[in-house]
């Protein structure tokens, strides 16, 4: 599939099929209808695949995780609690599997708490239009949890509460992780632009 097709898939995911339709799919999956699984897969494959891929940077692993996510959806449809949307549920599964994969590879070297806090002074914050390729490269330097938070907020347009459901943490934690991730991105980008760190 080319990038355009992936984009069109993804746009339909972001705009979102109605939640009830997703839930209908899950109901049909519970009745053993594998076509409903294929339907759900077609809605979320691009988002889930790119989510894992960007955090792991490993195409094969991201494909394995995509496969495991939808096998888990097939297996665990009855475990879906109707407190959240199907979308956040699927992303939560994807996130758990992605983090598990990282742990297996022992690639997490930086704990979230170890990320140094910076005090932004808004009065001194300079407005810079960073180049997209610089931002993409800076994103790769974020730790997985910060990267996940940024991806879920800016790419998948989830609210803080939904991100909290995916990452299994309180909304306040999401807010501070998002804030730390942005500070870190700014620091990386400003350093590259030759500015002093704030």
């Amino acid at each position: 599939m080319n990038q355009e097709a992936a984009k069109s898939d993804y746009i339909s995911e972001v705009r979102g099929p109605s939640t009830s339709t997703d839930r209908q799919c899950l109901q049909e999956i519970l009745e053993g209808d594998d076509q409903a699984l294929a339907e759900l897969y077609s809605r979320y494959r691009t988002g889930v695949f790119n989510y894992s891929l960007r955090i792991l940077g490993d195409r094969e692993a991201a494909e394995d995780i995509l496969q495991e996510v939808f096998v888990a959806v097939w297996q665990g449809a009855s475990g879906f609690r109707h407190h959240s949307s199907v979308k956040t549920w699927i992303y939560r599964i994807a996130h758990n599997m992605t983090v598990s994969w990282i742990r297996k590879q022992k690639r997490i070297t930086t704990n979230i708490e170890e990320v140094p806090e910076t005090q932004d002074d808004p009065e001194e914050a300079s407005v810079i239009n960073w180049r997209a390729d610089e931002v993409r490269s800076a994103l790769d330097q974020l730790n997985p949890i910060h990267r996940a938070t940024v991806e879920l907020a800016f790419v998948h347009d989830l609210s803080y509460a939904e991100i909290g459901e995916v990452l299994d943490c309180p909304t306040g934690t999401v807010k501070s992780r998002m804030s730390n991730a942005i500070k870190q991105l700014r620091r990386i980008l400003n350093t590259r632009s030759g500015l002093n760190e704030r």
Binding site: A6, A38, E63, F70, Q75, N129, W130, V135
Partner: protein
């Protein structure tokens, strides 16, 4: 105040940028935005950052992934879990709690235990009476329990749960035979404070057990709501 509120509002910038703020928060945020220039600058910067994040190339998975999923689903190796599983959880939890309480009750009776042993013929039943320790007349004794005697059993006990903190009581046990004849035991004094350590221990251990069961249930729910073997 302004600085604290500014920092608070700044935390909601990303949510404002991705349009996920609720109507009330959005209104408040826009109000703040109307007079905080630095926040406006950051908003522009963040919107640019978001566009850059969104501009990452989108990749597509290999079509073979779907085939592998469908093969796994069709092969019956993985079947959708049936819906009865979660509904069994709550009765199981309730049964576990009751069982723990019963075992704990046996191990640490949370009251004053009155014990007596039987010598001679087995009566039909026993009546347990209680009176405040300062009672002067027999009339102050009130019947608090009755239990049948059992052939071959010569040791009995009764657990008094209706205690008053700090209050001492006098207990008497009366053996009643089939003809209504009675034999009364010697009086025994019991202090409700004697039961306090056991009551506290009972409550503490039961709280710990309940918490452990709740944690296990949480773990179970996490396992069934996210794929098994991969729950964080």
């Amino acid at each position: 105040m302004k600085s604290w509120l500014g920092r608070y509002m700044r935390g909601y910038l990303p949510a404002y940028v991705n349009a996920t703020l609720g109507p009330v928060q959005k209104r408040l945020f826009e109000r703040w935005l109307s007079f905080d220039d630095s926040l406006n600058d950051e908003l522009d910067q963040l919107a640019g950052l978001r566009s850059a994040v969104q501009s990452q190339p989108l990749m597509s998975p290999d079509p073979f992934v779907l085939r592998r999923i469908m093969t796994a689903a069709d092969s019956g190796m993985v079947l959708p879990r049936t819906t009865w599983r979660p509904s069994l959880v709550w009765p199981a939890v309730a049964a576990l709690l009751v069982l723990s309480a019963l075992l704990l009750w046996r191990a640490l009776p949370p009251g004053l235990e009155i014990s007596w042993s039987l010598e001679g013929a087995t009566p039909e039943s026993f009546r347990v009476y209680r009176a405040p320790v300062d009672a002067s007349a027999n009339d102050d004794f009130s019947l608090i329990g009755e239990l049948p005697a059992q052939t071959g059993v010569n040791r009995y006990d009764y657990l008094d749960l209706r205690l008053v903190p700090g209050q001492q009581f006098v207990y008497q046990v009366e053996a009643v035979d089939g003809s209504g004849n009675t034999v009364t035991s010697q009086a025994l004094i019991g202090n409700s404070l004697e039961a306090l350590p056991r009551q506290l221990l009972f409550l503490s251990i039961f709280t710990v057990i309940s918490f452990a069961i709740w944690s296990m249930l949480r773990q179970y729910r996490s396992v069934i709501s996210t794929p098994a073997h991969l729950a964080l």
